[in-house]
């Protein structure tokens, strides 16, 4: 893997998007599986910074993670 390919995987893993599993739960990002431990830690650190920035910018203080969770709640009856 080239350094550029590794960078791409790390950046991709910082999105709030996650694939849905067959049971409706969210699975890991495909890029996550291709990263080594150090790359995964880097993706985690970058994600924390991004989410802090997103929340600071949002009028309700919500990150893209929070918006993604709320979108799932509002688009389906998720109470068991």
């Amino acid at each position: 893997m080239t350094p550029e390919e590794r960078e791409t995987l790390i950046e991709e893993a910082t999105t709030a998007w996650r694939p849905e599993r067959l049971d409706g739960s969210l699975g890991p990002h495909p890029s996550f599986a291709d990263l080594d431990d150090a790359g995964r830690r880097e993706a985690y650190a970058r994600t924390r910074s991004l989410r802090a920035m997103e929340a600071a910018l949002d009028p309700d203080g919500l990150s893209t993670t929070a918006h993604a969770v709320l979108d799932r709640i509002r688009s389906a009856s998720t109470r068991t």
Partner: protein
């Protein structure tokens, strides 16, 4: 942190806006708690599932005389889910580490103003990809966003990295640090 259970009765009654207010304060805490699992499990997926579980279980959370009952439940749910994912992979549970909280070294209104100032200074493709991410809270993978912007996955990621570096540099000059401590 104040007692986030002030939102609990509304959340239990199905008020998603109240859950949003709870999320704004709880999410960073739950994410930080997953620090030690970051090399083994995808903490973003674990986090979102745990937050959703908190919403589902909220009507059954009974007050125990201590603050932040729903947050404490969510922290346990996130840890248990992460441990379960670790076991599925046949890996060892990571040992506890000192956590690294995200610190924004400025009051919120100042932080918001500094970030807005720095984002306004982004130009071209870095500005485009960051906007695409902010406008799309997890609904689509970067590959789809890249396609819409007429970029390859690699170009999208490279521009996102440029945007992040430029923002971090600009914020640093404003006296704001968003990177977690090592």
């Amino acid at each position: 942190m104040s007692d986030l259970d002030v939102h609990l009765s509304a959340i239990a009654a199905g008020d998603a806006d109240a859950f949003g207010r709870w999320l704004a304060a709880a999410e960073p805490q739950v994410r930080a708690s997953l620090f030690r699992f970051a090399a083994v499990v995808d903490t973003e997926a674990v986090l979102q599932e745990s937050l959703l579980t908190a919403w589902q279980v909220a009507p059954r959370i009974a007050p125990d005389g201590r603050p932040n009952g729903l947050l404490r439940f969510c922290l346990r749910a996130a840890r248990n889910r992460a441990i379960s994912e670790v076991r599925k992979q046949g890996r060892q549970e990571p040992t506890a580490e000192v956590d690294a909280p995200v610190e924004a070294n400025a009051p919120d209104p100042l932080l918001r103003r500094a970030i807005a100032f720095c984002i306004e200074r982004l130009r071209g493709k870095p500005a485009q990809v960051l906007r695409a991410r902010l406008d799309d809270p997890g609904a689509e993978a970067d590959g789809s966003l890249a396609l819409r912007l007429g970029m390859t996955r690699n170009t999208f990621a490279q521009n996102l990295a440029r945007a992040r570096r430029q923002l971090t540099g600009c914020l640093s000059r404003q006296g704001v640090r968003l990177e977690p401590n090592p």
